[in-house]
């Protein structure tokens, strides 16, 4: 799990042995790029495409982080999409109700209030999940399925299923702006990936989170406060959903109860492809980021080829099965 001896960095074989998942992902990524160069030269890998990928990928990436940290603890958070939509709707309501034509002065304080309110709601949903799982003892699947239904129900009730739209330009900048030539959502994602990575590997909370995923009973008996750690894990997962929704509703310039419903499968796929053990305890952010790039490239290629959305979903399902199959071959032969 923790691998701190970084000598022999230039010995390719030892790198492979140390982290086969990461090496396979790098090879796969390079292979896909090579294929794209050979078969669609100058079609998929264009500057334009790269820019749109850099705008699309962050929300998926942040949601994948949200599901990954719960999978590392041996659980899962199936309510990520519902949480993100709820947070987005709260932010959207605050902005559309409090910012009017007749208002004088800058809308920025209200935008900040809206963002923070959205994050607060998403953290509260996360804490609710965590308490259900850690203190009441509900299985993570059931707890988060229940929360998904409840939160989704509240979202539908307060919006009546309609779209809430029309945000100030300053807010749209978050999802569509470019800073130093790099799309802002991408910068936010990179920052979060680094932060979560440090949190997972360099803090007592992160290590406890991995340990719970490896063996919850042993962790409990070793004196770690498992319940508190799990509540923090799900609260953090909720917060990440909230941040993803800030970007998402800014890009769409609207919020709705049913947005991004297809993302749940894709985030699980990215996590497992990135080397997260579905039973918990193992997995790294670097793997997840590589898996995210691979998936985004493949998805952009499918878009370019004009593949049906349903076929794409079927292929994602197949890819998830193949990935799990390959993991088994690897873990038995090495």
């Amino acid at each position: 799990m923790l691998n701190n001896n970084d000598n022999n960095l230039f010995n390719i074989r030892s790198i492979y042995q140390k982290d086969p998942t990461l090496s396979i992902l790098v090879i796969a990524l390079l292979f896909i790029i090579l294929l794209l160069f050979v078969f669609f030269p100058g079609k998929v890998l264009t500057a334009n495409n790269f820019e749109s990928m850099a705008f699309q990928l962050p929300e998926l990436g942040i949601l994948s982080l949200a599901i990954m940290i719960t999978m590392l603890s041996g659980g899962i958070n199936l309510s990520i999409i519902a949480t993100a939509n709820m947070a987005g709707i709260v932010s959207a309501f605050i902005m559309t109700r409090m910012i009017t034509e007749s208002m004088t002065g800058s809308p920025i304080p209200i935008i900040l209030l809206a963002i923070l309110a959205g994050w607060l709601v998403s953290v509260l949903i996360g804490i609710f999940n965590g308490v259900l799982i850690a203190y009441i003892g509900v299985s993570p699947i059931l707890a988060t399925l229940g929360t998904m239904t409840l939160v989704g129900g509240i979202s539908i009730l307060v919006t009546k299923g309609y779209v809430v739209s029309g945000f100030p330009e300053e807010y749209q900048y978050i999802g569509n702006g470019i800073f130093l030539g790099i799309p802002i959502p991408f910068l936010i994602f990179l920052g979060l990936a680094i932060l979560v990575s440090i949190l997972l590997r360099r803090t007592p909370f992160g290590i406890a989170n991995y340990l719970i995923g490896s063996n919850e009973t042993a962790t409990r008996f070793s004196g770690i406060n498992v319940n508190r750690t799990l509540v923090i894990t799900y609260a953090l997962s909720g917060l990440l959903c909230g941040i993803a929704s800030t970007i998402m509703i800014s890009r769409f310039n609207s919020a709705k109860a049913g947005y991004a419903s297809s993302y749940l499968l894709i985030t699980i796929l990215i996590s497992v492809l990135g080397g997260v053990d579905p039973y918990g305890g193992f997995g790294r952010i670097s793997g997840l980021v590589l898996a995210l790039f691979i998936l985004q490239l493949v998805s952009s290629t499918f878009n370019f080829l004009g593949l049906s959305a349903h076929l794409t979903i079927a292929i994602w399902g197949l890819l998830l099965l193949i990935t799990i199959g390959l993991r088994n071959i690897k873990s038995t032969s090495i």
Partner: protein
């Protein structure tokens, strides 16, 4: 252990009776023969799948792909009887076989890929459903032969005053499925082995049980029930729609868990599941008759799920 579940089932029974009394007095139309029969017909499909889900949960697994299996079975069944005709039996046969094959596929994947059943079945859900909708282009199918579209009633008779009475086939199917599941779980070696496997899979393996065989049975069984249940649903709706079933996984799991089944495996009963389905059906139907805006429905179902899993888990934790 069994005492606790008996207590839980009794508690559930009281809640159902209270709800029936409440809706019967607060609305005019709830406690009528027509409404209750309608309720039974429209929830027969959910009930049939809940019986399959119960067996999977008892074995310690979970299946999220059964709605996709039902959709695949519906399409293939519809195309077969429209192109080659046949009779009601062949329709059920085709759908049942499709269900068994796809369920068996799930079982092999879960057994050999050694990954959580939930992740495998989320993958196969999208695989089965995505390919079906891609190939059929999500077309609705209506043009069934006449013999299929006529109403299928069992034990039908016309009373002296000329009123026609009969029990629709889907309801009969529901009752048969519950009886079959009850017999398998309680009176066969197979059923006891499934309980043992859900209680402690490693102990079951060392006791010499064929885990692969049990896994195949369990997932084929829910596949089979999804297949024949989906034909029952086509008999009610007179059409095959791409999005009529997928997305209802949660309701089925909710009904089963409401009835006392545990995701940890080894626990659950047919009676509890039947009451879980009844509770969901009564709440849903009662809310509609009372005129509660449909925007509230999902929220209320979510609340019911969270309360019931919370109470269940809390009880189990306290006893442990």
């Amino acid at each position: 252990m069994s005492k606790m579940f008996k207590k839980f089932e009794f508690f559930l029974f009281l809640v159902i009776v209270a709800l029936i009394v409440f809706f019967a007095f607060s609305t005019e139309n709830f406690f009528t023969w027509e409404n209750l029969l309608d309720l039974l017909i429209s929830y027969s499909f959910l009930g049939i799948m809940a019986a399959g889900m119960l067996v999977v949960l008892i074995s310690g697994g979970i299946d999220l792909s059964f709605t996709a299996i039902a959709t695949v079975a519906q399409y293939i069944m519809a195309i077969t009887i429209i192109d080659y005709s046949g009779n009601l039996f062949s329709a059920f046969l085709v759908a049942g076989i499709i269900g068994i094959v796809l369920g068996g596929t799930n079982a092999f994947l879960i057994y050999y890929l050694k990954a959580p059943a939930m992740i495998i079945t989320i993958a196969t859900l999208n695989l089965f459903y995505g390919f079906t909708i891609f190939i059929t282009r999500g077309k609705w199918i209506y043009n069934f032969p006449d013999w299929f579209n006529q109403s299928h009633n069992v034990f039908s008779f016309t009373a002296a005053d000329g009123t026609y009475y009969g029990i629709p086939l889907p309801v009969i199917l529901l009752v048969l499925v519950f009886i079959l599941t009850y017999i398998i779980l309680n009176y066969t070696m197979l059923g006891r082995k499934i309980f043992a496997m859900g209680g402690n899979i490693e102990a079951a393996r060392r006791a010499g049980f064929n885990i692969l065989g049990l896994t195949i049975f369990v997932y084929s069984y829910i596949g089979f029930l999804s297949g024949i249940g989906s034909v029952g649903q086509v008999l009610i709706l007179h059409s095959v729609q791409p999005n009529a079933i997928v997305g209802r996984e949660l309701e089925v799991i909710a009904a089963t868990v409401l009835g006392g089944a545990s995701l940890a495996g080894g626990a659950g009963s047919v009676l509890g599941t039947a009451m879980g389905v009844a509770l969901l059906a009564i709440v849903w139907n009662g809310l509609i008759i009372m005129g509660v805006s449909s925007y509230w429905h999902k929220l209320i179902i979510g609340l019911i799920i969270i309360c019931s899993v919370g109470i269940n888990a809390y009880n189990r934790k306290r006893k442990a």
